[in-house]
Amino acid sequence: MTLGLYPGCSLKGSSREYAESVITVAKAFNINLEEIKDWNCCGATAAHNMNKELSLALPARILSLAEKQGLKEIVVPCAACYSRLTMTKYELAKDPELKAAVTDANGLEYTGSVNVLNIIQMLDKYITPNLDGRVIKPFDHRVACYYGCLLVRPHEILKFDREEDPQSMDVLMLKAGATPIDWAFKTECCGAGLSVSRTSSVGRLSGKIIGDAKDRGAEAVIVACPMCHSNLDMRRDAINSYLGEKIDIPVLYITQAIGLALDLDRKALGLQRHFVKVTV
């Protein structure tokens, strides 16, 4: 089967291992991911902080292109892009005037018909039902499933999982053979877009997340967002200096952990690209 894919900018650059692992796992289940042609950046935090119309027009262009390409359903692995695309669909559906302004700015037809899936929804819908017998190398580790902000909030719009103590990743990891732990920082913010402009805040916020995961005996942190990943992995020096100790618990994308359980090639899952060595 074929499913549309909106990779977003991070998955083409600093988080290319997320793209690699998504594509590798999908391929193992004969899912062909068709990239939206000539896609643009969703605008991310910068656009919605500075200019509302721009923050809706950029995601709307992506959704219009998907419609034009005949894609009925797309997967958006980046939680931040998923949030922007879903929020745009919501805003444009309830405000015809805004929709007209955005369509005019984009010069493209927009109906809002494309179904947008985050990575967990995609895995649940197309991979989990066929997982039986495929887990040949159970991911037998204690894992802290970290959801962050934009995968589960705001619940009124995303309508995915629960906003306090979500479970969808925990259930998936359980099926992959892991032992998900109960911990306190599942949905706390990692510092997100302040990574460059206020690295010290990221060290503190992400530090608390990694610190709690360690205190509760996690052997790996599992994520579904490139921003969470880069803050928890690439900013580990800032985290360790905040905590005053050296913590080397690796951070894996959920698709990498599932890929390992399926015994897929480690390099194809991009594990060598991490800053904190993946020893699990």
Binding site: D38, N49, S55, A57, L58, A192
Partner: protein, 147 residues
């Protein structure tokens, strides 16, 4: 944060222009990460993150952005400039532009070679074909904005 979100809501609620001005000049509105936690837990279901977006846009348009937020605003501007010209985020371009705006030349300099080694930095930007379409989106959505 100079004022917590609950206090910002109260300040706006009073309708006193001087307090609104203080909110627009506050550091809080820029250090807010839009994590959506306050909205999730607000007993009155106030969409605070959406209000924060509105306040930030107004603060920029009225040139009231808090001086302590200089780097944060510079980062957003560099980010949007990168998309405006190539359609997608070009990370090296973003860093160079941000450094030029803030003169934080040495910050994160050690990170670039480490990212490069791991194949996480593209030397050449990914250019989309319809760049004039993107330019037009920026032009039309900027009509109401001064930035």
């Amino acid at each position: 944060m100079d004022y917590p979100p609950s206090v910002i809501m109260r300040m706006l609620q009073t309708g006193i222009p001087n307090l609104e001005d203080k909110v627009l000049r506050s550091f809080s509105i820029w250090v807010c990460l839009t994590c959506e936690m306050c909205f999730a837990r607000c007993p009155m279901s106030i969409d605070i993150p959406k209000m924060m977006d509105f306040l930030r846009e107004k603060s920029i348009n009225e040139k009231k952005a808090n001086p302590k937020a200089k780097e944060i605003v510079a980062f957003h501007k560099s980010f949007l400039d990168s998309i405006k010209y190539t359609g997608r985020l070009y990370e090296i371009g973003l860093f160079v532009d941000y450094k030029a705006r803030t003169l934080k030349i040495l910050d994160d300099l050690a990170l670039a070679p480490k990212m490069m080694k791991r194949g996480k930095l593209n030397l050449i930007p990914e250019m989309i074909k319809d760049r004039s379409g993107i330019a037009s989106i920026f032009r039309k959505s900027n009509k109401k904005n001064k930035n």
